[in-house]
């Protein structure tokens, strides 16, 4: 590998970024606007407002013996700032209000709630002696934030009630009907969206790569470079490096903007470093999609259109846009690389997961494998069919 050639090509690509208005817009201005607009719309700007949710509570647990468990649970729920608890005497009325959008969720405390808590307290390590029960939770599916935020908060209140700890570290005798792993609290909508915004900005590299390759091919520039002793490996390495630098700039811009308007992710410097690594690896995936697009497209205009075939699924299924997806769409989203980037960033920034957390490492591994595979496919296809 000749580094003189690679660095010359990288410099050229970075100059394109600064000097071509369309590239500058997509790489720098678009992420700035995106972060600002979403910050303004969803709570990052303007006093760091907290979203609150009205939650209906139906208590089917009999009064009297051991009812202090129920009271303790209700107390813990009420202490969660963003939940406003509204008691209901029956499930039907609560469900009616939920359907009408008057409340965001309904919690139904089962009859055997206190008995179940007692059984756990007397034998916390022996599940065979527990009286298992389920806390029914219904959430407004029309609210993408309610679907993500409420269940984890109930989980947290339940864990505090039974084990005295905020985080549910072991299994207990009470399950929530649709549990989620998110352990969030006092979170604005903007904070929920930020991990997805990081991935979202990088997705548009697909279009930039596809446009620059088709334009260079049309102008004969790829052919001209091919006449020089520059090898395919050197050329593709330069593309990978320059696009990773662009992704790094994008991620830094997005992070700086978000930070400036009050976004404070969980974790430390290592969390942030891993987040940038994820974005960098993901940028290679988008270079691969860009190359596949350039192979299929006959002109820069066509490249823009075809690029959206890769951008749209990644955008709608894998970033903040897909937060309120249906069950089937969520299953499909597992097939888009951006899902794993967003999921890992959500674990890091929102759940406060350590960088060694298995779920983060699995997401990172899937992102690495996907990016390597897509990049390889892109290089092979472009080399074989796209250069002419």
């Amino acid at each position: 590998m000749n580094f003189q050639r690679v660095s010359a090509l990288v410099k050229k690509d970075l100059k394109r970024l600064v000097r071509e208005p369309s590239a500058l817009f997509m790489i720098i201005l678009f992420p700035i606007m995106l972060t600002l607009v979403f910050g303004l719309a969803f709570g990052g700007i303007g006093g760091n407002q907290t979203v609150t949710y009205q939650v209906g509570l139906v208590n089917n647990s009999p009064l009297g013996q051991s009812s202090n468990w129920t009271q303790r649970f209700i107390g813990n729920l009420a202490s969660v700032e963003i939940l406003k608890i509204q008691p209901y005497s029956d499930n039907a009325t609560a469900q009616d209000d939920l359907i009408q959008g008057k409340i965001s969720a309904v919690i139904i405390i089962p009859q055997d709630f206190s008995r179940s808590c007692d059984s756990f307290e007397s034998a916390p390590t022996d599940p065979n002696l527990w009286t298992n029960t389920t806390l029914q939770v219904y959430v407004d599916s029309g609210s993408m934030f309610a679907t993500q935020a409420i269940t984890p908060l109930i989980q947290q209140a339940l864990a505090t009630t039974i084990t005295g700890q905020q985080v549910k570290s072991t299994s207990t005798s009470i399950q929530i009907s649709s549990p989620s792993l998110v352990q969030a609290s006092n979170t604005t909508a903007f904070e929920f969206m930020m991990p997805g915004i990081f991935a979202f900005a990088s997705i548009f590299l697909t279009m930039i790569v596809a446009q620059s390759f088709t334009l260079d091919r049309d102008c004969g520039l790829l052919k001209r470079i091919n006449i020089t002793p520059t090898t395919a490996t050197e050329f593709m390495s330069s593309q990978a490096i320059s696009n990773m630098i662009e992704a790094l700039i994008q991620a830094s811009v997005v992070f700086a903007m978000a930070f400036a308007i009050g976004y404070r992710p969980k974790g430390d410097i290592s969390t942030l470093a891993l987040a940038f690594v994820l974005v960098l690896v993901f940028s290679l995936c988008n270079v691969g999609f860009g190359l596949i697009t350039a192979t299929l497209a006959k002109s820069p205009g066509a490249a823009t259109g075809i690029a959206f075939l890769f951008i749209m699924p990644q955008m709608f299924l894998g970033t903040f846009v897909g937060a309120s997806l249906s069950q089937s769409a969520q299953s499909i989203s597992r097939f888009v690389p951006s899902y794993y980037v967003t999921d890992a960033l959500t674990s890091l920034f929102l759940r406060g997961a350590p960088i060694t957390s298995p779920s983060v490492l699995v997401d990172l591994a899937v992102t690495v494998v996907c990016s390597a595979a897509v990049l390889m496919i892109g290089v092979v296809l472009f080399k074989k069919y796209g250069k002419a």
């Binding site: 000749n2 003189q4 050639r5 660095s7 010359a8 090509l9 410099k11 050229k12 100059k15 394109r16 000097r19 071509e20 102008c219 004969g220 520039l221 052919k223 001209r224 470079i225 091919n226 006449i227 020089t228 002793p229 520059t230 090898t231």
Partner: protein, 248 residues
């Protein structure tokens, strides 16, 4: 006996049923300035693309400086400089930056880089405009940058595909002088052109190509003498029954 610098043997290239080159054979000596004449679509650019290793021949062989282009394309690329027909460079870079980029791709040593570039820009009267973006250059200036890019690494062999097309007479004369200097420095040059007077003025030997076949080969004087013509234009008319410019 010295081996020819460029050897083309029974070269045929077909594109989807169209024969661009038809069993063409040719030898060019080291240090020779060889002109390839022919109308559009005659196969001139296809021959250059084959000599550079950009396309694979349908049949036949091509050797450049003793290297089989098909098998040793990387070695061949280190020896050649190619000036494509269309001025090809990055519009968002300045003239100097474009030349620097391609000099780096040709691994010109850093110490020599600035001096070489300055000299070539001066030679092509582009020093004053060197730091303007290429997108703001006139067509003639772009063509001169195109030629500098091809020669910035001082290649042993230069393929110049219509380097003076659409240039004003003054610029064309400057380029002719430049090409003559290359020849004096012992470079092997293949020049394709539509301009008969250019070939007559510059070339040691010329080959006339039409419909993918080499139909005449010799020095300009030999061909003029052989066909009892006043100039190469008349030779072309004699051979093909039409003027070369009618095809442009």
């Amino acid at each position: 006996m010295e081996m020819p610098e460029i050897v083309v043997e029974n070269l045929t290239k077909r594109f989807e049923g169209v024969t661009a080159l038809d069993s063409l054979s040719l030898e060019i000596k080291k240090g020779e300035l060889f002109g390839l004449l022919g109308p559009n679509g005659a196969g001139k650019t296809t021959l250059i693309n084959l000599l550079c290793g950009l396309v694979e021949p349908t049949s036949g062989s091509v050797y450049v400086a003793g290297h089989d282009v098909r098998r040793e394309a990387a070695k061949v690329k280190e020896l050649i400089g190619v000036c494509p027909q269309d001025a090809t460079a990055y519009s968002f870079l300045s003239g100097r930056e474009n030349v620097e980029l391609f000099a780096n791709l040709e691994s010109v040593p850093k110490a020599k880089l600035k001096e070489s570039i300055d000299e070539l820009l001066e030679r092509m009267s582009l020093t004053e405009d060197a730091d303007r973006r290429l997108g703001r250059y006139s067509g003639g200036m772009k063509r001169r940058i195109n030629l500098i890019i091809a020669l910035v690494h001082d290649p042993e062999i230069a393929f110049l595909d219509e380097p003076t097309v659409a240039m004003d007479p003054q610029s064309r004369r400057a380029v002719w002088g430049f090409i003559k200097d290359l020849e004096r420095n012992g470079k092997t040059i293949m020049l394709t052109t539509h301009y008969m007077e250019e070939a007559q003025e510059l070339c040691d030997r010329v080959g006339i190509i039409d419909h993918g076949k080499l139909i005449a080969l010799g020095t300009p004087a030999q061909l003029i003498d052989k066909f009892q013509a006043k100039n190469l234009e008349d030779v072309f008319i004699e051979l093909t029954g039409r003027k070369i410019r009618e095809e442009i």
